[in-house]
C-alpha cells in the first residue's frame, strides 16, 4: 500500500495516543494502512479490560476503606477517653520530638492522619474542593515526619492511576484506550468527593466503563448508575423516598442530584426534552439505589444494593410514560427507555464527534453517528467503527488540541518511558488543570481546543516539556524522533526549528511543543 503520512498522523493522533518511540514502527505501520491500524484494536475481544494483579474489586476496596475509617474512629474515641494523659506528655515530645514519636498519644496519631490526608478530611463532605475547617482540628502542628507513609486510599489511587497510565503508554494505537478516557469523562465521578470516591475512582472505570466501551450504551449506563462510586458521587445513597418506610421513620427524603445529571449529562442532554417534574419523578424512581456500608446490613459491603425500605412506593411517570412499582426494575426500565431516546442518540453522537474530530463537527458526521447509534440500539463498537470508516474523520484538519492527559501520555510513548511510579504524571496533570479522575463538576473536563490552548496552560506545557527534555534529551536525537512522530507530514518550519535548535534539549522541548505534537 501507498505510504500516506498525513493519514498516519490522523490515525496516530486523532484516534490514538500518538506514535511510540524506539523500534515500534508505529508511524510506518499507520502510514501503510491507516484505517486498519486504528481498527485492529477493535477486533480484540476484551481489549478494553484492565486486569492487573493487585487491583481489587469495588467491594474489596470498600471493605478496606470502611475498616480504615473505623480504625481512625476508634483511635479518636480512645484518644478522647485518654485526654488528660495525652496532655501531660505533650511538653516532652516538643522538646525531643524524634524519640518521643513512638510514644505519641493516639489522639496525636489520629490528628496526624487526618491532617495529612485530604481525602480523609473531606470524607464527610459532599464537595471536597473546599476542605471543611471543622476537620482541621490540630491546634498545634504535629512534628513533621520525614516521609509520611501513604495510607490505603492514597496507595490505591496511585496503583489504579499507574495501571491506567501504563496501559496508555504501551497500547498499540491507543484508540480503545482513548475510547475509555472519553466514556470515563462522559460518565465522570470526582475523586475529590471524598475517601470512597478516591478509593473507587479506578475500580469504577474498570468495572462500569471498560467492559462496555465496545459493548452497548444501555449496559454501560446501567453499570454506571448502579455503581457505588456514582451513587456516592451524586448523593443517591442519601436519597430516601419521602413516603418510604425509611423516609417516614427518619424524616428524610429526596435528593434529585443523580436523577438530574443522568438526564442532563449522561443521556438526553440539557435540551433533550425533560422537565423538572421528570427529574423529580425519576429521583423518586431511583430512591433505594444505594450501596451496602461497613456493617453489611443490606448486602456485601461496597456493593450495589436496592434498599426497598428507602424506595418511594407507587407508580411514577417519567417523560410521559408510567412505570409500575416493581422495585429496582422500575428504575432499570426508565434507564433502558432513556438510553433509547432520540435525544440521547443525538447528544452522544454530537459529543463523540466533537471529541474526536472537531469542536464544531460536520453535521453529516453527527447525523451518521446518530443513525448508527439508533439503528444498532446503542452498539458502541458500531459507533466507533462508523467514526473510523467515515471520510469526514480523515479529511477534517487536525485542529483539536491534545488534552493534558493526551499530551503527557503521548510524550511518555514517544520517549518510551513506561512509568514505574505515577507521581510525575499525576503532578503534570494537576499543573495543567486536568487532575486525574477529578474534574471540577459532574460535566467532566472540557473538550474544546479553547479550553486547553489557554495562555497559561500552553506556557506550562512548555515549561514541562523543557523539564522533560532537560532530563532525557542526552540519549535521544530529536531529528530521529521527528521521523517517528510525523516523518514527511512534518511541516518544513517545524523541521527547520528542530534542526536549528541550539541543543538536543531545546530541540526535544520544541518537538514536544510543535503543532504536529500538540494538535490532533
Amino acid at each position: 500500500m501507498a505510504r500516506d503520512s498525513q493519514a498516519a498522523l490522523v490515525a496516530l493522533n486523532r484516534f490514538g495516543f500518538g506514535a511510540r518511540g524506539g523500534a515500534s514502527g508505529d508511524f510506518v505501520n499507520a502510514a501503510s494502512d491507516p484505517r486498519g491500524f486504528v481498527k485492529a484494536e477493535l477486533a480484540r475481544p476484551d481489549g478494553a479490560l484492565l486486569e492487573v494483579p493487585g487491583l481489587l474489586s469495588t467491594a474489596a476496596l470498600g471493605k478496606q476503606v470502611f475498616d480504615y475509617q473505623f480504625e481512625i474512629q476508634q483511635a479518636r474515641d480512645a484518644a478522647k477517653a485518654a485526654q488528660p494523659a495525652a496532655g501531660e506528655t505533650a511538653p516532652q515530645s516538643s522538646s525531643e520530638p524524634v524519640p518521643q514519636r513512638r510514644n505519641l498519644s493516639l489522639s496525636t496519631i489520629a490528628k496526624e492522619i487526618t491532617a495529612k490526608d485530604p481525602t480523609m478530611q473531606s470524607a464527610e463532605n459532599a464537595n471536597a474542593a473546599m476542605t471543611p475547617a471543622g476537620t482541621m482540628q490540630p491546634a498545634v502542628d504535629p512534628p513533621k515526619p520525614p516521609a509520611q507513609p501513604l495510607n490505603i486510599i492514597q496507595k490505591t489511587f496511585r496503583a489504579e492511576a499507574l495501571a491506567r497510565l501504563q496501559r496508555g503508554v504501551v497500547a498499540d494505537c491507543g484508540f480503545v484506550e482513548r475510547l475509555v478516557v472519553f466514556w470515563s469523562n462522559h460518565f465522570c465521578i470526582s475523586a475529590n468527593k471524598g475517601a470512597l470516591a478516591r478509593m473507587w475512582a479506578g475500580s469504577f472505570e474498570r468495572e462500569a466503563i471498560r467492559p462496555h466501551v465496545l459493548g452497548r450504551f444501555a449496559d454501560m449506563l446501567k453499570a454506571v448508575e448502579q455503581h457505588p462510586a456514582m451513587l456516592f458521587f451524586l448523593d443517591n445513597q442519601q436519597s430516601l423516598g419521602p413516603d418510604s418506610r425509611a423516609g417516614i421513620n427518619r424524616k428524610r427524603g429526596l435528593n434529585e442530584n443523580l436523577a438530574r445529571e443522568i438526564m442532563e449529562l449522561h443521556t438526553l442532554g440539557v435540551s433533550g426534552g425533560y422537565t423538572q417534574d421528570d427529574v423529580t419523578s425519576f429521583a423518586r424512581v431511583i430512591t433505594g439505589w444505594t450501596f451496602a456500608g461497613r456493617q453489611g446490613q443490606l448486602g456485601t459491603p461496597g456493593t450495589f444494593v436496592f434498599n426497598a425500605n428507602a424506595h418511594e412506593p407507587g407508580p411514577q411517570s417519567v417523560l410521559g410514560k408510567s412505570y409500575p412499582p416493581n422495585g429496582v426494575a422500575q428504575g432499570e426500565a426508565v434507564l433502558s427507555d432513556i438510553a433509547q431516546h432520540p435525544s440521547t442518540a443525538k447528544f452522544i453522537a454530537t459529543k463523540f464527534a466533537r471529541h474526536f474530530v472537531a469542536d464544531d463537527p460536520p453535521p453529516a458526521l453527527i447525523a451518521k453517528l446518530q443513525d448508527v447509534f439508533t439503528k444498532t440500539d446503542g452498539d458502541l463498537k458500531a459507533l466507533a467503527t462508523t467514526l473510523v470508516d467515515s471520510s469526514d474523520a480523515w479529511q477534517a484538519p487536525l485542529t483539536k488540541m491534545r488534552s493534558p492527559y493526551e499530551f503527557l501520555i503521548a510524550s511518555g510513548r514517544l520517549l518510551a518511558r513506561n512509568p514505574e511510579d505515577p507521581g510525575r504524571y499525576l503532578n503534570g496533570l494537576n499543573v495543567l488543570g486536568q487532575p486525574l479522575w477529578s474534574p471540577a463538576g459532574p460535566n467532566g473536563f472540557p473538550d474544546t481546543s479553547a479550553a486547553w490552548a489557554a495562555p497559561e496552560g500552553l506556557k506550562l506545557r512548555l515549561d514541562i516539556s523543557a523539564q522533560t527534555a532537560s532530563q532525557l534529551a542526552d540519549r535521544l536525537d530529536p531529528r530521529d524522533l521527528l521521523e517517528l512522530v510525523a516523518a514527511d507530514a512534518a511541516s518544513p518550519e517545524t523541521r527547520r526549528t528542530i534542526e536549528r535548535a541550539e541543543s538536543r534539549q531545546q530541540a526535544l522541548a520544541l518537538l514536544l511543543m510543535s503543532p504536529e505534537f500538540q494538535r490532533r
Binding site: N257, N427, P455
Partner: protein
C-alpha cells in the same frame, strides 16, 4: 516524563489549591478615566459563585413566618448559639460572614434579595452561561457581559506588568476586549530562547497557539512574593483568600487593571449543607475572607471599589430529603466596597407562602440581576444605557439599570 519531582510537587501543591475552586482574570487595559483629573479611579470586581448559592441560607428571611419550616434543620436563627447577624428586623446574615456584616454596618455593603438572571431552568452549566454571557438564553455566544461592557469604555494604556495569564478566563470576562489572568503557580521556566523559537514556529504554522503563547509568556517574570504561596494543608477556603489577595494586590497597583473577575466553585450543596456551621458555612467563610482581602489589599483604592458577587441561580426553598437543597431560582447578589451605597437590603420580598414560591418550590425572583449589574456598570464605570441594553445585555431594554447602588 522525567520531570524534577520535588519542583513539580511544589508547583502542584499550589495549583491544586486553585483547582479547588478559584481563578482570577482582569482587563488588560487601564481605562482612560483612571487618570482623569477629578481623581475618580474606580475599580470593579465581579465574583462568580459556581454551583448555585443558597441565598436563603446566606441572607435568611428570619422574619418570614414560613422560613424556619422550609429550611428546617439548617435554618438560621436570630438568637441562641451561632445566631445570624440581623441586618434589619427581617433578614439575618449567616454568622460565617462577620467581615461582610462589618462592611454592611459601615454602609459599604448591600444585599439584593430574591434576584435571578433571566434563566428559568435548572442546569448549572446553562445557568452559568446565561449569568456570564448576559444573553437571555444559554449557548448563544462565547463572550461575557463584562468584556462587552469594557469594549464600551475608553481604552487607556495596556497593563501588563506583574500579570501572568490565568489557567482559564471566566466566560463573563471573555471576548474581544483583551484580558489577562493570574494564578499563583511556580514551575521552573523554560529558557526564554526556547520560548522565542517556539513562538516563531507558531507564528508561521499556528496563529492560535502563537496568540496563546504570547499572552502566556507575558509575565511570570515577576514573582509574586512569598506571602502569595498557599500554606500546605490549607483547603479551598484558603485558596479563595489567596486569589483575592493576589487580585487585590494587582488591582491596587497604579498601573494595574481596574476591572477583574474571579470565579469560586463548590456551592452545589445538595446534601448536608449545614446551618450556622458546616459545609456552606465553610464556603461563606472563604468568601467573607476574600472580601476582606480585597478591602485590605486595595488600601486607599477600596473607597473607589465595587465588588459584585453573583451566582447562576438559587436553591429550593424547602430543604430536600438529605438536609441540603436542590437547584432552584431566586437567590441573592452581594455588593461590597467603599463605593457601594451600602447598609441596605434591596428587595421586593415575594414571601415564602407556598403560593408565592416559583413553581411551588423556589424563592420567586422579583429583581432581574441584569438591573443590578447595569446599575453598577452605569454608575461605577459610566457605561451608557444604550450599550447596556443592546450589546452588554442584548435585548434587555425593558430591564432598566437600578439606580443609586453606587455612593
Amino acid at each position: 516524563m522525567e520531570c524534577c519531582e520535588s519542583l513539580m510537587t511544589q508547583a502542584t501543591s499550589r495549583r491544586a489549591l486553585l483547582l479547588g475552586g478559584a481563578s482570577f482574570a482582569a482587563w488588560a487595559y487601564l481605562p482612560k478615566f483612571a487618570r482623569a483629573a477629578d481623581g475618580r479611579d474606580p475599580r470593579l470586581v465581579v465574583v462568580i459563585l459556581r454551583g448555585a448559592l443558597d441565598g436563603l441560607a446566606t441572607v435568611a428571611p428570619i422574619g418570614d413566618p414560613d422560613y424556619a419550616a422550609l429550611h428546617g434543620a439548617i435554618a438560621l436563627r436570630a438568637d441562641g448559639p451561632n445566631a445570624a447577624v440581623m441586618l434589619d428586623p427581617f433578614f439575618g446574615l449567616h454568622p460565617a460572614m462577620p467581615e461582610f456584616a462589618r462592611m454592611y454596618r459601615a454602609k459599604q455593603a448591600a444585599v439584593v434579595h430574591a434576584v435571578a438572571t433571566s434563566y428559568r431552568d435548572r442546569s448549572h452549566f446553562d445557568g452559568q452561561d446565561v449569568l456570564e454571557s448576559g444573553f437571555a438564553g444559554p449557548g448563544r455566544v462565547q463572550s461575557g457581559w463584562l468584556n462587552r461592557a469594557l469594549e464600551a469604555l475608553p481604552k487607556g494604556d495596556r497593563v501588563m506588568s506583574a500579570l501572568a495569564v490565568g489557567p482559564t478566563t471566566p466566560l463573563v470576562l471573555r471576548g474581544a476586549a483583551p484580558t489577562v489572568g493570574w494564578a499563583p503557580v511556580a514551575l521552573p521556566q523554560a529558557a526564554d530562547d526556547t520560548a522565542m523559537r517556539l513562538l516563531d514556529l507558531y507564528q508561521h504554522r499556528d496563529p492560535m497557539l502563537a496568540s496563546a503563547l504570547t499572552q502566556g509568556l507575558q509575565l511570570e517574570k515577576q514573582a509574586q512574593g512569598d506571602d502569595m504561596k498557599p500554606k500546605p494543608g490549607a483547603g479551598g477556603v484558603a485558596a479563595m483568600r489567596l486569589v483575592a489577595r493576589g487580585a487585590a494586590k494587582l488591582m491596587a497597583a497604579d498601573d494595574g487593571p481596574r476591572i477583574g473577575a474571579l470565579a469560586f466553585d463548590g456551592w452545589d450543596t445538595h446534601a448536608n449543607e449545614g446551618g450556622p456551621v458546616g459545609r456552606l458555612a465553610q464556603l461563606l467563610g472563604g468568601l467573607d475572607g476574600a472580601l476582606a482581602e480585597f478591602e485590605s489589599g486595595l488600601g486607599d483604592r477600596w473607597r473607589d471599589t465595587v465588588i459584585v458577587v453573583a451566582t447562576e441561580f438559587g436553591r429550593t426553598a424547602r430543604i430536600n430529603g438529605t438536609e441540603g437543597t436542590d437547584h432552584g431560582t431566586g437567590t441573592i447578589a452581594l455588593l461590597a466596597g467603599g463605593a457601594v451605597k451600602g447598609g441596605r437590603m434591596i428587595t421586593d420580598w415575594p414571601g415564602l407562602k407556598p403560593a408565592n414560591l416559583y413553581q411551588a418550590r423556589d424563592l420567586a425572583p422579583t429583581t432581574d440581576l441584569r438591573a443590578v449589574i447595569k446599575g453598577v456598570l452605569h454608575d461605577q464605570l459610566g457605561v451608557g444605557e444604550r450599550a447596556l441594553a443592546e450589546t452588554v445585555f442584548p435585548d434587555s431594554s425593558p430591564v432598566k439599570p437600578m439606580k443609586g447602588l453606587v455612593a
